[in-house]
Symmetry: C2
Amino acid sequence: MASITEVARLAGVSTATASRVVSSADYPVSEATRARVLDAARALDYVPNALARGLLKSQIPVVAVIVHDITDPYFAEVVRGVEDAASPAGYLVITCSSERDAERETSYVRLLRSMRAASVIFAASGLDDPEANQEIEKHLAAMRSEGAAVVHLSPHALGPADVGIDNEAGMASMIAALVELGHREIAFLAGPSTLFVARARLVGYRRALELAGLPFDERLVIHTSFDREGGALGVDTLLGGDVAFTAVACANDPLAMGALARLAELGIDVPGQLSVAGFDDVPVAAITSPSLSTVRLPLREMGRRGFAEAARILNGEPLEQAVLPTELAMRSSTGAPAAVPVTVAGAGRGEAGVGA
Amino acid sequence: MASITEVARLAGVSTATASRVVSSADYPVSEATRARVLDAARALDYVPNALARGLLKSQIPVVAVIVHDITDPYFAEVVRGVEDAASPAGYLVITCSSERDAERETSYVRLLRSMRAASVIFAASGLDDPEANQEIEKHLAAMRSEGAAVVHLSPHALGPADVGIDNEAGMASMIAALVELGHREIAFLAGPSTLFVARARLVGYRRALELAGLPFDERLVIHTSFDREGGALGVDTLLGGDVAFTAVACANDPLAMGALARLAELGIDVPGQLSVAGFDDVPVAAITSPSLSTVRLPLREMGRRGFAEAARILNGEPLEQAVLPTELAMRSSTGAPAAVPVTVAGAGRGEAGVGA
DNA sequence: GGTAGGATAGAAAACGATTACCGCTTCCGT
DNA sequence: ACGGAAGCGGTAATCGTTTTCTATCCTACC
């Protein structure tokens, strides 16, 4: 591969001049010289070495997005948004998927630091591992001091999101909508209690209940993993308990979809016997059966704004923290509460009463 | 940020020795010296500069995965597989989403070259843009000559996949399964004819027909985009035609899901009146309604093997090209063909006969 | 006792690009 | 006609590592 030295030699100029032609925008170079350099560069198929450039600038045009799981459509959308904004600006987007493993996340951040990434965008709240978080924070501090931009898209241990979503208000609006439909006993699949987002949505649930003057019953709140399995498990737990309920609100869509699948297996009609609501509006939420009532999040927009915020930090401009509003997407998995209690004979779990 | 120079000074050794302690594995350094260097590194929170290292080696431990669309679960799974294998090996995974835009793909490859990425893995077949492909190939050749590993996970303009999936056999097995169920007139939603995978699946369809002694009728083959909209469109086109059919095989799952959705709108029962089959087994295929009969692809495994192949190239080991087998996942969208023809009065499209 | 050779450690030259600094023309104003 | 500025180009230092190539010290063997 040709280096700038060879380009300069072929063009009969110094490396400084060659460099100024191929990169530095505002230094004066005569048209004739510029043309000769450009010709030489083309002839040699010259591509500048980003490593050498980065070494000098202590910065490489890479923005990293830290996600929990790249196969989760939620994160895919956010990454897409970041990419939409970062690509035209000449940045390469790296997706780092921690698989919800604090150690892996730590090693990613370390690698990013070692690579002098221009920016790190956290798409998800941090994991609850104080030791790992401390090391991550150490690396981030070092990077920030070198001019790198760190942006949080979720609340985390050390503060609120830079560009965030109003999870609390979003969930509260969904609960309010269920109350409006006539529901009084609303169960809540809360996800893991270690996740900040999950906690915020739980707070929204409680706040809406309070606002509606309904009692909070902790037996109706189930903590599981944040995926479809968790949803199925949550349904089983609720049905195995002895508290009546007419609706299940879920802290995210995968939970709701898992719940839907399990309820279908058990032959429980949704929304006839039970209403189910999700949160996130992942792309497939619209094509489940029944289609899922959920809360739409401006994910792509969040990714875009996240990069915009990073760019602002990089340019030394003032920040513009933002809280993006959610939007209700009521579809067919919710309806009025069942008039009469139903009984379920489910998959070897014995019978469980459902409904008020 | 501390450099190795400072570490060396604090430890009272030369930078050469310090470097040998923190990276080079096999050079002899006395225990006492080693300990002093390690202590100094820890005290200064030293993290080696990957850029400087990469500049010297003309290689940075980054493997890039080029995909068409990161929000497509197919690609997400592949990326996940690559990540599973690359992370433990100390490589960072970059996901580059071309959005099916040849120019964007070109600029990604250029950036990757300029960054001296160790490896580029193409998760999808290339786009049909000769000019762009030529430039991409130029960059790839330059990278290969510098020791970078280029791996194709799909057939492409210049050859077969390095680690691939037997698309032809996979589709043939699905068609055979439909024939087994009693179907004789099987329509095919083929996706875009410009995509290599799509073409391979079409070939599988034809081969299976031939093998079963069934005639090939090109009016039953519909080319559309490779997504849900394409599926809906394909159904409309088929129903608008005058050729009878009892099953629709689709070149991928999004097509099948689009078909399912459209058929539901039209009130056509699946699989009662019409069988529908997909290809890919994306995660949501199991939770559509009816759940989708499809062909399972070992995507994550493909990602893992893709990286393994890259690692082999990087180490100068001999290649091990592989064709991974698919697996049938028959669920509830397929069944025996309808006994009597049905008639559809669909969404302002007039009536169309369906079935034999 | 001389020397071969292994074990350690250091000096210095790369890698490829950017840029501060300096110097040469040319040209303008006075 | 001369000082100075502007335009243009070159020299060389620099970023942080790795990696020869030496240099030193010891041990051990003949």
